[in-house]
């Protein structure tokens, strides 16, 4: 994180941005230059954490939306243990719940891109944020085919299956039908075909 120091440096900024920042600063009851300096400082500390301002914005919007739709974060081991307690019927219901959440997410992506924008691009942009425990997450598409690959060695089969159902729900809701699905502990390979 950037440590404030006493020495200053001059940074060039466009006049139009300065004007817009001045309006915003007065709305927040702050001086223009200190407001811009603070904004740059926040942006620099985000960069320090390895994320762009744009990604931070996407993440914030995603988290706020997820919270509103009733998603919560839970200790992974607790969920794992509770999943292993389920009977086979209970597991099927859990998979269905995960699929439905995925469907919702797919529809969310479509809604976000309905007035312009590529839904697949949005999917590519949002999923890595959502799947924070993945060591590898690849989405590739060629013509009407779409491939999704996920690797997370630490996952159990139950959690991997749950995630596979979630991902299937997302992509199905975006207008792709599943043509093949392979799920192993910590590995998901899903192939889809665009429907008309």
């Amino acid at each position: 994180m950037a440590v404030p120091s006493k020495s200053k440096k001059l940074v060039p900024i466009p006049e139009d941005i300065l004007k817009r920042m001045a309006t915003l600063a007065s709305k927040h009851g702050e001086g223009t230059f200190s407001f811009i300096a603070k904004t740059l400082e926040e942006a620099a500390s985000l960069l320090d954490m390895g994320i762009s301002v744009k990604d931070a914005r996407n993440l914030y919007l995603l988290v706020e939306t997820l919270k509103k739709t009733g998603a919560i974060v839970m200790p992974g081991e607790l969920i794992q243990q509770l999943l292993s307690n389920l009977s086979s019927t209970g597991r099927d219901k859990a998979l269905k719940a995960a699929y439905e959440m995925g469907e919702w997410f797919g529809k969310y992506i479509l809604a976000k891109t309905s007035s312009g924008g590529d839904s697949l691009e949005k999917f590519r942009e949002l999923m890595p944020l959502y799947l924070w425990d993945a060591s590898e997450f690849i989405i590739s598409n060629e013509e009407r085919r779409l491939k999704v690959r996920y690797i997370s060695p630490g996952q159990t089969l139950e959690r991997t299956s749950l995630l596979a159902s979630f991902l299937e729900g997302v992509v199905n809701a975006m207008g792709y039908k599943t043509v093949s699905k392979e799920v192993h502990r910590g590995i998901i390979a899903l192939d889809f075909l665009k429907t008309d």
């Binding site: 466009p14 942006a43 954490m49 301002v53 919560i72 974060v73 509770l82």
Partner: protein, 188 residues
């Protein structure tokens, strides 16, 4: 041509932005412009850059501590299949790891403040957290969005485990649908 103004900022901040600009093959001017434009976009979405940063910190913390995203209704289904003792015990273990993590990263001077920070970042199902009492004896009450009794056990367990890391022990537990209260005293 775009008219420029010059702004005096902390040298280290300027250096940071300059380094990032260089790594992207951009000039300081074009990169600063991009950063500020994106920041303006954030403000137009009725949020502050600071909030986006806090959200990112919460995300990274959840990732580091092995938390996972789950729909509330799935959590409800899962916790109801287990006994209250089992969910509380499992959750207490997770809370204890989290408490130790916070102690390691931030010190042990203000456990209540750390608990509030952890709850804000990790316990999305907690809509309100109230702490009452003195330093040696106090109660922690959580109001919950998910009104399942066993979810209240999860939260009670997490808080107990978290504060055990700071040498507090639970003396009473009061769990009901949508609310969990735990009384603590300092362990001698």
């Amino acid at each position: 041509m775009v008219r420029r103004k010059y702004l005096a900022v902390d040298e280290q901040v300027a250096e940071e932005v300059f380094r990032a600009a260089r790594s992207k093959g951009m000039t300081l001017f074009s990169y600063t412009t991009e950063l500020l434009r994106e920041s303006l976009d954030i403000e137009r979405s009725y949020m502050r850059l600071k909030e986006a940063k806090e959200c990112l910190e919460a995300f990274l913390l959840a990732k580091e501590l092995g938390f996972t995203l789950v729909p509330e209704y799935l959590v409800a289904r899962l916790v109801n299949k287990a006994s209250p003792q089992e969910v509380r015990k499992l959750s207490e273990e997770a809370g204890n790891i989290c408490g130790r993590y916070f102690m390691l990263k931030k010190g042990a001077s203000d456990p209540i403040q750390l608990l509030e920070e952890a709850a804000k970042k990790l316990l999305w199902g907690v809509t309100e957290l109230v702490v009452k009492g003195s330093d040696n004896e106090f109660s922690v009450t959580c109001i919950l969005s998910l009104r399942e009794r066993n979810y209240a056990e999860v939260i009670a367990g997490f808080i107990t485990g978290f504060l055990r890391a700071f040498a507090y022990r639970p003396t009473r537990l009061d769990v009901s649908k949508g609310m969990a209260t735990v009384l603590f005293e300092q362990a001698v």
